[in-house]
């Protein structure tokens, strides 16, 4: 078997550590990079390093930003009393794409998972409590995945928030918008029935 030249092999190995990229894809990307100009490669390398150096976590919400606090946390047009708690900073992007939410965010940085050794102390729960106590918040929306870990984490956070007198809500689950009842799976439809609302 012919192996790759050492430098190229190292690149392939680095790339294949990235999520969703196996050795095959890594090799294809590496060869494509070698086909391109040297300037292009430098540009890519520089942008990786720059992104790493300039991006940090917002000290308030935990979202990714270059300026601390982030643009969302400093936007006075957004309702500072309404906070949406999410698992990861990428969830902020998903919620922002909806254009429907005009409050602020709080990134928990994960979900409770004893199996993975993730306990409350590994999440940004304390910071959320602190924010709630000092910030006069009216509502916290728990926008966590409807998985076992998501639901357990939501309950955990809700238990701690309960004595603080803030309203705690969670995202509704149910039918996809524009969907067809016929095509909905039993679980989704079942949840939609349980969580029906009055017209």
């Amino acid at each position: 078997m012919i192996s790759l030249p050492p430098a190229l092999e190292r690149l392939v190995q680095m790339l294949s550590r990235l999520p969703g990229i196996g050795r095959k894809s890594a090799t294809r990307i590496a060869l494509r990079l070698l086909d391109g100009s040297e300037a292009e490669c430098r540009e890519l390398a520089r942008s990786i390093v720059e992104a790493r150096e300039r991006t940090r976590r917002c000290s308030i919400c935990g979202g990714l930003t270059e300026d601390d606090p982030c643009a969302i946390c400093t936007d006075v047009r957004r309702d500072e009393r309404l906070v949406c708690a999410v698992e990861r900073s990428s969830d902020i992007l998903a919620l922002e794409r909806t254009g429907r939410f005009r409050g602020r965010y709080h990134v928990l940085g994960g979900l409770l998972s004893p199996l993975d050794g993730i306990g409350p102390e590994n999440l940004r729960i304390d910071l959320l409590l602190e924010r709630t106590r000092s910030g006069n918040l009216s509502e916290i929306i728990l926008a966590l995945n409807p998985t076992a870990e998501g639901e357990a984490t939501a309950l955990y956070v809700a238990k701690l928030l309960a004595p603080l007198g803030v309203q705690v809500t969670r995202l509704a689950s149910g039918l996809p918008v524009g969907g067809d009842l016929d095509l909905a799976d039993e679980l989704t439809l079942g949840t939609a029935i349980e969580e029906r609302r009055e017209l």
Binding site: S113, P114, G119, A148, E149, E186
Partner: protein, 383 residues
């Protein structure tokens, strides 16, 4: 519903194989190790996306190959559906139904329903509860998708909770972590138990009917033995037979489950694992009202196993969906009378695939098998 075509690619000892099956009994005969069971195993991949023989995906790929494929065409009332499953070593298992990739493997379960019967199953009424729970779970998962989701969530929550119990220390935070996993455990677990209880009368009725057909007079019934006492608090002695409708209610199960967990909370925190829940429950098999496990003769166990498996097939077929019965080398375990009754009942039911080291002996089957295949060293020839 039945499987008209089965295609294998780099599966076990088959490089390539395409079979046209009969809608009733299909017999595969040939020497040991010739690849008969592999054909049944391939069908199990089309049904539940894994091997019901208990092998890992990578073990199934043909020697030296990086993956395998199984395909099939399923005939039902509507248009025929085509399923393709592909597995590549070190990773992915993809399924397409009618050319559309499935987002989740679990979405495949239920399209083609199967009941698998192998020699180890003849001990199902004698051994521990795990095998009987597996029987119930595999049946329910194929007819009730929310059950499949509840069961897999339950298993996840159970592992998380056990880990939390193991790490438990007597402080507020630790207690709160256990509490939120208790909540998940109850949510999913009560759905699991309630669904099992709802299905039980149908299952028990079918098993009892088949027992009479195979063995005559003896009464075979099923009883759910829950680690959560469902009758407690309703007054009177523990109920015999299937619980009343009130017990089937998910909310009631949840309430009882919570009570039981609270009662044994100290013990759980000491031991570091969950001691009550559907993962500890049993499906008791009673012969003439007595628990068969503790007294049955070998013959009684075998007959009961046949009745259970036929009952499973009947439950899978409840709504007329159809079920494919896979009988792996089962005739060798049974005397001619039992074997004859089994094959006749299965053949009259719908599609079945049966493996045997010898051609069907005369007299075992009433009618001619609909299709008979000779299997030898990875070659399958229709007779």
């Amino acid at each position: 519903m039945w499987l008209r075509t089965l295609r294998l690619e780099n599966f076990r000892n088959y490089e390539r194989l395409e079979l046209e099956l009969s809608s009733s009994l299909n017999t595969f005969f040939g020497p040991n190790g010739s690849g008969k069971t592999s054909i049944l195993e391939a069908v199990s991949f089309l049904a539940v996306a894994r091997s019901l023989r208990g092998s890992g995906d990578s073990e199934v790929a043909r020697w030296g190959e990086a993956g395998f494929g199984v395909g099939g065409e399923i005939v039902s009332d509507g248009p025929a559906r085509s399923i393709t499953l592909r597995y590549a070593k070190g990773g992915t298992k993809d399924v397409t139904v009618d050319g559309e990739p499935l987002a989740k493997l679990s979405n495949l379960v239920g399209v083609l329903r199967v009941a698998w019967f192998c020699p180890e199953d003849t001990w199902i009424t004698k051994g521990g509860p795990a095998a009987r729970r597996k029987l119930v779970d595999l049946t329910l998962c194929q007819i009730d998708r929310p059950y499949l989701a509840a069961l897999s969530n339950y298993r996840r929550a159970l592992r998380q909770r056990n880990e939390a119990l193991l790490a438990w220390t007597p402080d507020e935070e630790s207690e709160r972590v256990v509490e939120v996993w208790t909540d998940r455990l109850i949510e999913y677990g009560s759905r699991v138990v309630a669904t099992r209880l709802t299905m039980l009368p149908r299952f028990s009725e079918a098993v009892s009917r088949f027992q009479k057909l195979v063995a005559g007079g003896d009464e075979l019934t099923l009883r759910y033995k829950g680690s959560v006492a469902l009758d407690a608090g309703r007054g009177g002695a523990p109920a015999e037979g299937p619980p009343s409708d009130a017990a089937l209610d998910e909310d009631l199960v949840a309430e009882r489950f919570r009570d039981a967990l609270e009662r044994r909370g100290d013990e759980e925190r000491r031991r570091g694992y969950t001691v009550v829940g559907p993962h500890r429950d049993d499906l008791e098999v009673l012969l003439n009202g007595r628990v068969l496990r503790s007294f049955g003769s070998q013959g009684q166990h075998r007959t009961a196993a046949i009745a259970l498996k036929l009952g499973e097939a009947a439950v899978l077929d409840t709504d007329g969906h159809g079920v494919v019965v896979l009988l792996d080398d089962i005739l060798s375990e049974l005397d001619d009378r039992r074997a004859g009754a089994l094959v006749e009942l299965v053949g009259g039911h719908g599609q079945a695939l049966l493996t045997s080291t010898r051609p069907m002996p005369d007299g075992v089957v009433g009618g001619e098998p609909a299709a008979s295949f000779r299997v030898e060293a990875g070659e399958v020839v229709r007779q």
